[in-house]
Amino acid sequence: MSAETLRSPDLSVTLSDGSAVPLKEFWKNRGLVLVFLRHFG
């Protein structure tokens, strides 16, 4: 996904505590830095 005109997908995400939260809850008030990791372990 490139910047400029594209929008964040309207998805619900599952957090590490098992709760489901709409992704927009993280950007709607403050903006969001979303960091995708590689594999870990």
Partner: protein
């Protein structure tokens, strides 16, 4: 990122990690590395796919250069373990503004690269500037 938590907080953006583990595996990761940010569990890679992040070609996963980077990581104390997630999945960083638009996009082409903290903070700063 963890070391720069205060700078991100001052810049005024939330920070969210996304990993390919189950909720339990992501929780263990957060505890192990004392990660102060929320973390998304995405074992099916739905969010990775929604942001169009690429997979590393198989020939690159077997390259000597990548093997050397792995050895270097072990030498720095990262240890060896069973990988959690798709080892070919490439990472990425995105900054999303308060309207849901992608203001900064950095999909990795290489597993070892990453944008600098300064680049990301500059993108976060731009969210606070009035629209032209």
């Amino acid at each position: 990122m963890r070391r720069n938590r205060v700078r991100f907080e001052k810049a005024g953006a939330n920070l969210l990690l996304v990993g390919m583990g189950t909720p339990g595996e992501c929780s263990d990761f957060k505890n192990k590395f004392d990660v102060p940010f929320p973390m998304v569990s995405d074992p099916e890679k739905k969010l990775y796919q929604a942001f169009e992040l690429k997979q590393m070609p198989p020939w690159k996963a077997l390259s000597p250069a990548l093997a050397l980077k792995g050895i270097s990581a072990v030498a720095r104390g990262h240890g060896l373990g069973i990988p959690v997630g798709d080892v070919r999945q490439l990472p990425g960083v995105f900054v999303i503004d308060r309207k849901g638009s992608v203001a900064f996009s950095w999909p990795a082409d290489d597993p070892s690269g990453h944008p600098s903290v300064e680049e990301i903070l500059s993108a976060v700063d731009s969210l606070r500037r009035p629209a032209k």
